[in-house]
Subunit: 267 residues, 2 copies
Amino acid sequence: MQMGGGARMPAGAKSRRVYLSLLEQISAGRLEPRQKLPGEEQLAEDYGVSRVTVRRALDALAENGFLSRRAGSGTRVRPRPSAPQPVTMDFSTLLPQLVEIGRSTEVRLLSSRMDAAPEHVARALDLAPGETVQIAQRTRSIGGTAYSHLTTYVPSRIAVGISDEDLSREPLHVLLERNGVQIADARQSVSATLAGPEVASALGLPEGAALLSLDRVVRDTEGRGVEFLTGLYRPDMFRLDMSLARVDHGQGRHWEPAITPLKDTPR
Amino acid sequence: MQMGGGARMPAGAKSRRVYLSLLEQISAGRLEPRQKLPGEEQLAEDYGVSRVTVRRALDALAENGFLSRRAGSGTRVRPRPSAPQPVTMDFSTLLPQLVEIGRSTEVRLLSSRMDAAPEHVARALDLAPGETVQIAQRTRSIGGTAYSHLTTYVPSRIAVGISDEDLSREPLHVLLERNGVQIADARQSVSATLAGPEVASALGLPEGAALLSLDRVVRDTEGRGVEFLTGLYRPDMFRLDMSLARVDHGQGRHWEPAITPLKDTPR
DNA sequence: GTTAAATGTATTATCAATGATACAGCTTTC
DNA sequence: GAAAGCTGTATCATTGATAATACATTTAAC
């Protein structure tokens, strides 16, 4: 399931409603690939809107690769939405660095500055109120398409000597370890959000598209917070995969993560 | 970060733009709790829209608990958006059954029927074309609020004897094991989507809200697919947490999942 | 070929969202 | 208490989305 919302969404309220409804049915598989949709007239009646409105929704869906339309023939569900093998994060990497299959990512540094830590960051890292952090925003791209938008916060006393070039080359925790920081553990939390204007334009998505969001707090061996990361990922280009094994030891069966690298992911 | 979109969103395009922009800034922490926003007039100028439009956005944000407004005084970011301790899924459970803290979930069976497997399900479970599956849709609620919408597909030859009452009481894999199925492993994939009309109404969200989506394929000891699940979760009520440890063994340091139960999650 | 059914295109009318403006009422500050 | 700054409310003009309709064009079936 990967109905990220696509690269374009109808502006109006009703056409968007139809758009989302059809998208939901396609993603859930209730509309099979290659299946012919009801005619525009029929859909208009079903949804209680005019044909023009249905049209806007269908046009957007077609433009985003979910449908293929042919005058005279009809509108059909496209076998595979343009999904160029998404980047995956799995249990063998655990950090959202991709399973490289001969592909490499380009990093773009959008901005970096020193500033007072936002409250939720200060709380997560146990910083003194008003303490300054290095705030950097980056995008990661693959094949010229940005698939993630990262914002990192590092206490300024730790970030000394990390240059902009460093930031656009190495993962942050590598830079930190180079600085002598003893990274001990991290906590991540995955959720979902809507794309706001800034992120949307950075990732080439419409505002209001669905994004996977990941927050991470990294601590050193003394329990001090050394990095706070907030990452937003395009769901059509990034997935978090995990394999589980059902094991039976002692009292009752339960699940365990399978760390073994996954086989090919045809999906 | 948990800007799910809230329970109401402005209808128009521009007001939604402002709504999402502000929501993004609040969620990202660029607008601090208790911080006073610029006046409506100022915001209108900033965004290049009229005050009425800004107003619609602010009203919606206030209604959804992100802002508090007082005539004469101003509009402020609310200290804590209504976030009643979200349900979490972590590495000790690995399946989205919640970390129970004295709370229990209610399951509601929306529908269950036998039907031909959708193509993507048949492919994932290695079914013969046209093979029938039991399709069940359920919601899970906590404290009366639905936080997840689940659709499960079980090959009908396996699902024999699973009644509707069973479905609304037990997790599916428990029922399957009761039926003698030897569950061996599962693969899960997490992503994000937008709420379509059906799911939106089932979860009490506006259409177009962001959702965490999870697909799962469960196989038995002989590698046959026995369950396909597609789950949609409210990001403001459900998070996927994981702890990682940075370990140093042999060649180079790397990350490993920390299975140890998490401490309290104050967040 | 003819026909039926579908998408493509255009026109005009209607309605909802937005813009511009004015003013009333509440809060804080001095 | 006066002033400044803000939100709340109303009005009317304007713009954009939607509705209704008609007709052209493409495709598939017979």
